[in-house]
């Protein structure tokens, strides 16, 4: 059995509403209304055997309303009225009487209706509506009916209807109407485009005057303990304003969110409240415009985000407050999303900072970060990297462009974050730490009224950690690049260095191949080849040593060694070179100087130092001295040659270092590096000092027995 889900059916005892089509609103009520009219009309005779639709069509009064019900009639219109009633086992007259009563008691049923044919620009008004307004016209151009609307509301209503007509969308609105005798009534209208036939708008009208007044004056009626406790338990701040702009309801959260003092609320006036809150906002004009627009359009809902001067961020929802159909006010709800926004923008900033720090141009990255950090940290931010020789912070930014060079507190230099106040300013300083060492600092300043929170300090610390890491990475990268560059230079120098021996060998071999070479020449050439061979071998050994040193696998086999003996042996081995350079070598080694060392490595020390002296000694005398005392042995090799400039005195012990310009010297400069490596291994030291009168003295100190 078909359940015609209408108010009528309900009044007729049908309880199966839930399974029915969802049009229990004006449609259902319209049917009831229409039937009421029918009932009155039935006095002049309705044939109940006819389908409802036919009956409706015959009676002009009901036509307007039933047009609105087009859908519903499609469901039930073909059913004869008496059948419909009979199926329910009801008495038609009784049904109609019940309906009449219900309508009397219940206000939500529309008090009138109208229809606007947009194309022909004609409005037709139902008799009920004319009765309510106490007007005479039943149809005509829209202006004729608009004339009954209160002059203050008329422009708004006109505009709303134009919009609805233009866009053909449903809308609801409220406005005041003036009866011919001047009495105002408050109407709520709901307008919908007609299904199927366009362009026609159908409107239902309710007179809500009494309702309106009741609600405004009766707080006690509206508010119950349950409602109050609900309001106080929400997460949002809630404010309810009535149609006249008076505050009808609010909760504590609203007051505390907006920091509203009691006296403003006590005024219960929207305007006072409004100007109080406007001061707190960043864009009060925008806020005000929104509010006015919503008041002008009571049915509108809105959502937006409010930003405060002190950095707070609220989300604001605003919806009309309805009782049944009528809009009786507006509900504003506010949610404090400051924390959420702060975390989001912090996370976004941290992501950007991390990206910036990956770049190789660290200074620009730090600069950009300091600038971008200001909204999070205050009015000024400075980052100082201590290795930067400039006494000012490496980078700094302030909100007003003034310089910012704060003094760092001792705590920060000792590796701890510090927050302190001075000159109406709150400072926070965080050290930049790499492997336990403080390499710089990050400082932020804010006005005292916005002093830094624990959360901000932690944020700074996280940022500082990233910056320190980036600085360290940049340094490591530079070191690696320097090392590669040094190695590449050395490789090219090594290749260059080989040309000498190769030249000599090539010429010697070509000479030996000649027919006319004498025996004496042969002997000379062969001796040369032997020498060059040894030279190349030593060269190769040096390279191998360097490789082994770098790989950490240089072998040391310690035994009891007499340093004096080793010196004499080395000098003897270098006799030819000594003779060639013309440098006379004198040895001074008092008694046996014994130590527990690898003899080959000690020999390397002596030989390398001697060769260095021969190379740079300019043919002048060289002195070698060795002595022992208190468990330590001292070896010195002095020359009277070019000397080592002060700036180079550490450099020459590094691998591939050359103390003099490449233009003057070839050579890899590995000898001294090897000396230092061996000396370090034995826990000793080697240094070069200038010699009085010109030249250098290399001083080696070794423990006689490292294990002691």
């Amino acid at each position: 059995m078909q359940c015609w889900c209408t108010e009528v059916a309900w009044y007729a005892g049908c309880t199966d509403r839930d399974s029915c089509a969802p049009s229990v609103d004006g449609a259902g009520r319209g049917v009831a209304r229409a039937l009421l009219v029918l009932a009155s009309v039935s006095k002049v005779g309705i044939d109940p055997s006819r389908p409802i639709a036919e009956i409706v069509r015959d009676h002009e009064e009901t036509q307007i309303v039933f047009q609105r019900l087009g859908l519903l009639l499609a469901e039930v219109g073909d059913v004869p009225l008496e059948t419909a009633v009979a199926e329910r086992g009801l008495d038609l007259a009784q049904v109609v009487r019940d309906i009449e009563n219900a309508i009397e008691e219940s206000t939500p049923f529309a008090h009138g209706a109208f229809e606007w044919d947009i194309r022909r620009n004609v409005v037709r008004v139902s008799p009920a509506l004319t009765a309510v307004i106490r007007m005479h016209e039943q149809s005509g151009p829209p202006a004729r009916f608009l004339a009954h609307i209160h002059p203050e509301d008329r422009p708004r209503v006109e505009q709303a209807f134009q919009n609805a007509a233009h866009g053909l969308y449903p809308m609801s609105l409220e406005y005041r109407v003036l009866r011919p005798d001047g009495t105002p009534r408050i109407f709520a209208s709901r307008v919908e485009p007609l299904e199927g036939e366009v362009p026609v708008l159908i409107g239902m009208v309710w007179d809500i005057t009494e309702q309106h007044t009741e609600i405004r004056t009766a707080d006690a009626i509206i508010e119950t303990p349950l409602l109050r406790s609900t309001l106080e338990s929400t997460a949002d701040g809630i404010l309810v304003i009535d149609r006249s702009g008076n505050i009808t309801m609010y909760n504590q959260r609203f007051l505390s969110m907006w920091h509203i003092p009691d006296e403003i609320v006590a005024k219960r006036a929207d305007e006072a409240l409004l100007s109080y809150v406007l001061d707190q906002l960043r864009e009060p004009a925008q806020f005000l415009a929104n509010v006015h627009e919503l008041y002008a359009n009571p049915e509108r809902e809105s959502f937006d985000v409010l930003r405060f001067q002190d950095g707070r961020v609220f989300e604001r929802y605003s919806r009309p407050q309805r009782v049944e159909f009528a809009i009786v006010g507006r509900v504003w709800s506010f949610r404090d999303v400051t924390e959420r926004e702060r975390l989001l923008s912090q996370a976004s900033f941290m992501l950007d900072a991390s990206r910036l720090l990956i770049s190789l141009d660290l200074r620009s990255a730090l600069d950009a970060i300091a600038e971008a950090a200001i909204p999070f940290l205050g009015d000024a931010c400075a980052i100082d990297v201590f290795s930067d020789p400039d006494p000012h912070p490496t980078v700094s930014h302030t909100i007003d462009g003034l310089p910012f060079a704060p003094v760092l507190p001792a705590d920060v230099l000792a590796g701890r974050s510090a927050s302190y106040e001075a000159e109406r300013t709150s400072f926070v300083a965080v050290p930049l730490i790499v492997q336990g060492e403080v390499i710089g600092a990050l400082v932020a300043a804010a006005p005292l009224r916005r002093r830094h929170t624990r959360a901000q300090i932690e944020f700074l610390e996280r940022l500082a950690a990233r910056i320190a890491l980036a600085i360290e990475n940049a340094r490591l990268l530079r070191e690696a690049q320097d090392a590669v560059r040094a190695r590449d230079e050395s490789l090219s120098i090594a290749a260059h260095e080989l040309r000498g021996p190769l030249s000599a060998i090539q010429l010697a071999v070509q000479t030996l191949q000649r027919q006319d070479v004498t025996e004496a020449m042969q002997a000379r050439m062969l001796a040369l080849l032997a020498r060059e061979d040894r030279r190349l071998a030593r060269f190769a050994d040096d390279i191998m040593d360097i490789t082994r040193i770098r790989a950490g696998v240089l072998r040391f086999v310690d035994e009891d060694v007499d340093l004096g003996a080793i010196i004499r042996e080395a000098v003897g081995r270098l006799a030819l070179e000594i003779e060639r350079t013309g440098s006379k070598v004198s040895i001074e080694a008092m008694g046996p100087i014994i130590g527990r060392w690898d003899p080959l490595r000690i020999d390397q020390i002596v030989t390398n130092l001697l060769q260095n002296a021969l190379k740079f000694g300019l043919g002048k005398p060289i002195e070698v001295r060795a002595s022992a005392s208190a468990g330590w042995v001292t070896l010195t090799v002095s020359d009277r040659g070019l000397g080592v400039p002060p700036a180079q005195r550490e450099q020459i012990f590094k691998p591939f270092a050359r103390a003099v310009l490449v233009r003057h010297y070839g050579g890899l400069g590995l000898g001294l590096f090897i000396v230092r490596t061996i000396v370090n291994r034995y826990g000793g030291t080697v240094e070069v000092e200038p010699r009085e009168g010109g030249g250098s003295t290399f001083v080696v100190r070794l423990a006689q027995d490292r294990s002691q």
Binding site: H496, E497, R499, G500, P501, L502, S503, A504, Q506, L507, A508, Q510, T511, R514, D516, V517, M521, R524, M525, L528, R531, E532, R580, K615, F616, L618, L642, V660, R663, H664, Y665, G666
Partner: protein, 141 residues
């Protein structure tokens, strides 16, 4: 080529180079003087009027080859003596000529190359004089 100047002055800090070049020249019948540093080289130039060519190593401790060359060119009595620079690097033709050298050899040098250059400046017994250097004579590198 300078008449009556048939001695080659060989300047290099590497004793083995001096040794072998002396022998190579001797086998070709070219007399030579060896100097192991700039000072000795200049002293030899000043005291002898038989030097017809200087073979000058660029890379030397103390006074570098280019300093020696500059000095030679500065002294009126010496500036006419041709100088051949020997180095381990490739200098451009322009560079070498700007420095005032007449020719440039890159180590390692073989006998043919060496003698080819030497014979342009001093007489080599049993070998006809080489024609003067043309722009692409230094074609190698």
């Amino acid at each position: 080529m300078m008449e009556h100047r048939n001695v080659v002055l060989v300047v290099d800090d590497d004793p083995d180079i001096l040794d072998v070049v002396e022998v190579v020249l001797e086998l070709q019948g070219v007399p030579s003087i060896c100097a192991s540093d700039g000072q000795a080289a200049l002293a030899a130039l000043r005291s002898s009027n038989e030097i017809g060519l200087v073979l000058l190593d660029l890379m030397m401790p103390g006074m570098s080859g280019s300093e020696v060359l500059a000095e030679i060119k500065r002294e009126p009595g010496l500036s006419g003596v041709p100088v051949v620079l020997i180095s381990g690097n490739y200098h451009t033709e322009q560079n070498v000529k700007t420095m005032g050298a007449d020719e440039h050899l890159v180590k390692p040098v073989d006998v043919a190359e060496l003698m080819g250059v030497v014979s342009r400046f001093v007489a080599v017994p049993g070998r006809p004089p080489e024609p003067p250097a043309t722009p692409d004579a230094h074609k190698r590198h």
